[in-house]
């Protein structure tokens, strides 16, 4: 997924897509559409341990680490949140931990979602971003501990 594109490149794509919309209604119709198309998360992942705190709606987020890249899957009971998740996954999934940790994610502001979603709601969005970065950080630390310990440490990721 997104093998050839960097995070800023995908962000730019999204910004350009949103520049086609004239009204908030159009933006939301698009986000709702993305939300409806987000593949459902397997039931076994919908557990308390995978919930993202700070959202008015329930958000479950899991990550997988394959060949030095982090892959995310997520779902929510609210459609607009699912649309926002879908965009975050598009930008961050399949990138290296370092790229994810360093991602500025300016597109959220550029498409008007931080200013448009009130503080209480964007907290949920920010919690999601934070949680995704935490996963990346955890994988990065594990990588560096493997190289120091010559690979003897258990590398099973908790939320796989």
């Amino acid at each position: 997924m997104n093998d050839s594109k960097t995070i800023p490149e995908i962000e730019q794509e999204i910004i350009e897509e949103f520049s086609l919309f004239d009204t908030w209604d159009e933006k939301y119709e698009y986000i709702i559409d993305l939300g409806k198309k987000l593949p459902p998360l397997e039931e076994e992942h919908k557990i308390d341990e995978n919930k993202v705190r700070g959202c008015q709606s329930t958000v479950w987020l899991v990550a997988d680490y394959v060949d030095g890249k982090v892959f995310f899957k997520a779902e929510s009971d609210a459609v607009i949140v699912k649309g926002l998740i879908s965009m975050l996954i598009r930008v961050l999934s399949g990138q290296t931990p370092k790229q994810i940790i360093e991602a500025k994610l300016n597109f959220i502001q550029e498409i008007g979602m931080t200013t448009h979603l009130a503080q209480t709601r964007s907290n949920g969005l920010l919690s999601m971003v934070k949680q995704m970065k935490n996963f990346a950080l955890a994988y990065k630390i594990k990588d560096s501990s493997i190289s120091h310990d010559h690979g003897y440490r258990n590398t099973e990721a908790k939320n796989n």
């Binding site: 709702i32 607009i80 709601r121």
Partner: protein, 414 residues
Amino acid sequence: MTMSSTIVKSFDVDFIRQQFPILNRQVKGKQLVYFDNAATTQKPQSVIDALVNYYKGYNANIHRGIHSLAEEATAAFEKTRDLVQQFIGAPSREEIIFTRGTTEGINLVAYTWGRQNIKAGDEIVISTMEHHSNIVPWQVLCEEKNAVLKIIPINNQGELLLDEYEKLLTPKTKLVSVVQVSNALGTINPVKQIISAAHKSGAVVLIDGAQSTVHLDIDVQEMDCDFFVFSAHKLYGPTGVGVLYGKKELLEVMPVFQGGGEMIKEVTFEKTTYNDLPYKYEAGTPNIADVIAFGAALLFISQTGKQNIRKHEEDLLQYATDLLVEMPGLRIIGTAKEKIGIVSFVIDKIHPQDLGILLDNRGIAVRTGHHCTQPLMNRFGIPGTTRASFAVYNTREEIDELVAGLERAIKMLS
């Protein structure tokens, strides 16, 4: 000007709306429709003026100054106490204590009366429909004292089961703390009956008036509650001011809450004697400006006329309910016979948060979520609702806007 001497005009919603400058603003390019009044009401110009005039004209610390500004500020501050006394029918002004809000009022009682009177094995009774602010202080107290918290159940309409309530009352019941009007459902609870049953079994009663005071006629003597708490900002007044009414005989023997200035009579390093009521519970420089502006809010309500306000809001509630029940998939949560102007609802397969975002997109402010009543939401088996709550300045046209906004949102989401 006293409240009884004000002349109540016939009700004109346009005249009311002109007094609220915020109602002219636009949100997302649309005329604001403000239906989040149960969270906080908007402020009339007279309240804003009172706040500004205090800072511009006579800002001073109160009570101990001998200069003119201090005298003027003290007089204005204490005037509000008299207005509150009249507003809730308290026997004396000494029983009116200014707090930061309803939550602080409840905590004050929990920390003073509660710690003095609740012993191991004692019971405190609250209801299923309490706001977290009327749950947590008692949980903390019960944990500390090894006391027991008991919960009055409700029916599916969102009404208290009074038979069950009376069964909960035992000689061990020391306190009943119940909300007069539910913030999440709008239910008006029969507090007089609740209080009289509690008193028969020897319990003290606190009534949470956060939602009720702006809508209903409040007479604490007729009600016979021992404590009554509410917040100014839900009565068209400023944030940061609340009132605790308590019966004098209780307030006099309760221990102090916070120590500091104003609440003392004399301090030596050996012993401090405390000030008389109400100052005993008002440590530190109070929120002078906001208390003064709260007085203006009370005058606004009395000039508009509580009966007029109630009638207008009842009309809005009926109008909104009639339209909303017709919407496919919509279910109103809270269908008590006695309700104030709150409509809380869920729509099949649609998350309240999505509705809230899309309504906001049309300039309509509603509240979505659990409304700080998670146990109540659990009782109904829902994560939350979308809530529209009405105030004196709302109109039928605005409810039409809400319905149109909901129809559009449902179309977008399904």
